[in-house]
């Protein structure tokens, strides 16, 4: 079937001569590879008119990638698309919009210094004969749109003055204003309160009645059963199953989501666990997480599981003094510390490998030595301010050999190393300070399998030397393979701590989506 140009499709749509089809959208055989990762592998997906179709899957299962392809953000390597029975091809988000596919992104895309009306009608402002914007008309149209959706907002308000929930409403109104048939919502409730969620669901039901199709990505089981008609489950870039929402149970979905075999690639050794070294009591950071309490022992690996945004990284940052706690206590060997900056945490014997190598880890323009030595310089290794270069160079060499950092010399800028080698340099930075407690936030994210295994081996080795390790990871197999105990978080709360013998994919996912 010949593919239509966006304008032709729009013309067809406008004159009402739409080929009848049960499905608004049919996607078949979509494949998408990114450097080093096969994000989607032969995925198919269908959306019915007037239905809400939920997508579920773990972090990295490929849901967001598929949605970005449907919204024209990414171009797939292979795959065919039919919209109302007509073959279409999408090459840009604008294309998708013209076909009637609108996406509400996880990260909101509004211009904060412009008004609500200006944001909604951007690029489509009603103009007068001289090319000036007709503000009154724009306001009127916005008002009309809002009353249709029951959104109580002032079109003239500036977006920066709106709450996150209201911005979300503006995004939805904007999507609807394109007369889209398909709306894609990527975790729309992640920043909303319960009342706001109800309002959103009312809007979604209105849209359903108008015959729109809605693709709804979520991690929350209860939302799924409340709003969705169908649910598709994805895992590791593959489509796993589609069911009517009324015909599946929560447990079935969890099983479908995690159903992979755990490979025995983790060199976990059971080492003698020592005394409690870190005690956390009622720790909270306002607006992020609250009431987190746990003990960490020498030689123990405590895994932190939970979905992205559940507050795991915030807990780590607060423990290390990057964002000081608003309540609670942190005790190290029984002594209370006020972690008001990372310096205090370091002096107390902590190290912190951050989640984002590029943003908070590497000094990209500097060489390997500069990247490794920086935490060490805080105390010692200098006289009268002059750094003991030779001594530090030697320590760096040792680390380079121990971690097998692949580089010809230590003066190489770190930007020239692969992700795995960069990560090793950052780990070396903390090992050089000889920490007693090491926090590792996503220690193996985005690095190749070989380096991953080496880092896992190193973590085990450190534990056997008595270092207490707190490891955050979004990869359940990693958490299960490495941890002595697993602490699970959900929406800023600790939902449980599981012993190694009780921890499995299902028990963790249950706590993580509670």
């Amino acid at each position: 079937m010949a593919s239509l140009s966006p304008t032709t499709a729009e013309a067809i749509r406008n004159c009402g001569a739409v080929p009848s089809s049960d499905y608004l959208l049919e996607v078949e055989g979509v494949r998408k590879a990114f450097p080093g990762v096969l994000a989607l592998d032969d995925v198919s997906f269908r959306l019915k008119r007037g239905h809400v179709h939920a997508l579920m899957g773990e972090n990295g299962a490929g849901k967001s990638t598929l949605m970005k392809i449907i919204a024209g953000v990414y171009t797939p390597d292979t795959g065919s698309f039919r919209m109302k029975g007509q073959e279409i091809r999408l090459t840009s988000p604008l294309d998708a919009l013209q076909y009637g596919i609108a996406m509400i992104h996880q990260e909101l895309n509004l211009m904060s210094f412009m008004t609500v009306a200006e944001n909604i009608w951007i690029r489509r402002e009603p103009l007068n004969a001289l090319g000036f914007v007709r503000h009154e008309e724009m306001r009127r149209r916005t008002q009309e749109l809002f009353s249709r959706l029951d959104i109580p907002l002032d079109p003239e308000a500036e977006v920066r003055d709106l709450s996150v929930a209201n911005r979300q409403m503006v995004e939805i109104a904007k999507a609807v204003s394109y007369d889209s048939d398909i709306l894609i919502m990527d975790e729309p409730t992640s920043a909303l309160t319960e009342r706001e969620v109800e309002h959103l669901f009312r809007i979604i039901r209105t849209l359903k009645e108008q015959g729109k199709g809605i693709i709804y990505i979520t991690h929350k089981m209860n939302e799924l059963f409340e709003i969705a008609d169908e649910v598709s489950v994805f895992r590791d870039g593959r489509f796993i199953a589609e069911h009517p929402a009324s015909a599946v149970t929560r447990d079935e979905i969890i099983r479908l989501m995690v159903g992979r075999e755990i490979t025995q690639m983790f060199p976990k050794e059971i080492v003698p666990i020592g005394d409690v070294i870190l005690s956390v009591r009622g720790l909270a950071l306002e607006g992020r997480f609250r009431d987190v309490s746990f003990d960490l022992r020498k030689g123990e690996i405590l895994g932190f599981a939970g979905l992205v945004g559940s507050g795991r990284s915030n807990v780590a940052e607060t423990l290390f003094g990057v964002t000081p706690a608003t309540a609670g206590q942190i005790l190290i060997e029984g002594k209370q510390f006020n972690m008001k900056n990372p310096g205090v945490a370091m002096d107390a014997g902590m190290g912190f490998l951050t989640e984002d190598r590029k943003d908070t880890g590497c000094f990209l323009v500097l060489d390997i030595v500069s990247n490794m030595q920086v935490a060490l310089l805080r105390r010692g290794h200098a006289s009268a301010g002059f750094v003991h270069e030779r001594e530090i160079e030697q320590l760096c060499q040792q680390q380079k050999q121990r971690l097998r950092v692949r580089t010809p010399d230590l003066e190489e800028p770190i930007i020239n190393l692969s992700g795995g080698n960069q990560q090793k340099v950052l780990i070396a930075r903390w090992l050089m300070t000889k920490p007693r407690i090491l926090i590792l936030d996503e220690p193996t994210r985005g690095i190749d399998v070989g380096a991953k295994a080496e880092i896992h081996k190193l973590i085990t080795e450190l534990a056997s030397q008595g270092v207490a390790i707190l490891m955050i990871s979004s990869e359940l197999p990693e958490v299960l393979g490495m941890s002595d105990r697993v602490l699970v978080m959900h929406e800023g709360r600790m939902t449980g701590i599981l012993d190694r013998k009780d921890a499995n994919q299902v028990s963790i996912m249950e706590l993580a989506s509670r």
């Binding site: 990114f34 951050t354 880890g361 323009v365 920086v374 805080r378 020239n416 960069q422 994210r445």
Partner: protein, 342 residues
Amino acid sequence: MAPNASATSPTSDAPRAGRRRLPAELSILGVMIGMMILFEILGWIFVGQSFIANPLRLKIMILQEAEIGIIAVGVTQIIIMGGIDLSSGSVVGMTAMIAASLAQVAGYSHAIYPSLTGLNPIFPVAAGLLCGLVAGLINGSLIAFTKIPPFIATLGMMVSARGVADWYTNGQPIGNLDDPFAAIGSGWWPVIIFLGVAFIFHIALRFTRYGKFTYAIGANLLAARVSGINVERHMVLVYSIAGLLSGLSGVVHTARAISGQAGVGAGFELDAIAASVIGGSSLSGGVGRITGTVIGAVILGILTSGFTFLNVDAHYQEIIKGGVIIAAVVADQYRQRRRKSV
């Protein structure tokens, strides 16, 4: 959740071995020598004499850049730390007035402070340095603690410090300065001071904790904070040092001119930034060296005296100087992009 979330595009696991990196200053040194040769040739063609073989011209050339150079040593450190300083020229003006007012000859009846004439030169020098230090301290504290962008903070200081300079004597110049004070600006002293300051901070940046922290903050402020560096304190320190050096430049200038003038130093801040950038400092932070800045300052000097030597109109000089600064940054960006794509 995009699967390509790795920090950087991974490059080969075993980068090519055995290729020694040449110091970045080498290319800029080449540009400097090339320019001297160019002026030498143009000199013989158009003026019929040598550009280089004229000690007096070289001396003037170096002297006029020494004051910019002293400032540029401080500004370079700020730029390496990822900041910017627009206030240095105005701080020179402010210091010039304050130092001059305390350096007038003994018994001069129209002195600003008739009871404070004929003082030991220590006093005007100390007052000038202190004045610069305070300006830098204010800059640094504003940037570190109120989190306003360095551009805005130092723009405010630029306007205010110039205001202080004008207000001090209602714009009247301060003359009749004492000989011992003027001696600081005579002969080769400005150049010696410039090179001394450059040497000290070259060493500090390369070999001390202070220097390593400066580079780290400029390369990645968040990572520096997580690595335990007290970022706020260090910012205040670096801006204070830059202020102190602007003050020093103001003192040297006043001593050399043997008079204090409120308008002095206008545009110095831009020349200092230009010297730094021509010398290879990156305005995005983490990159730069004092040696490069010294060469950058000399290049600016060569441009000015070369064009004067060729009788090029002063307006054309400015136009061409602007072009050179842009060319230096474009070349630098090109170099960085190439490095990243290796």
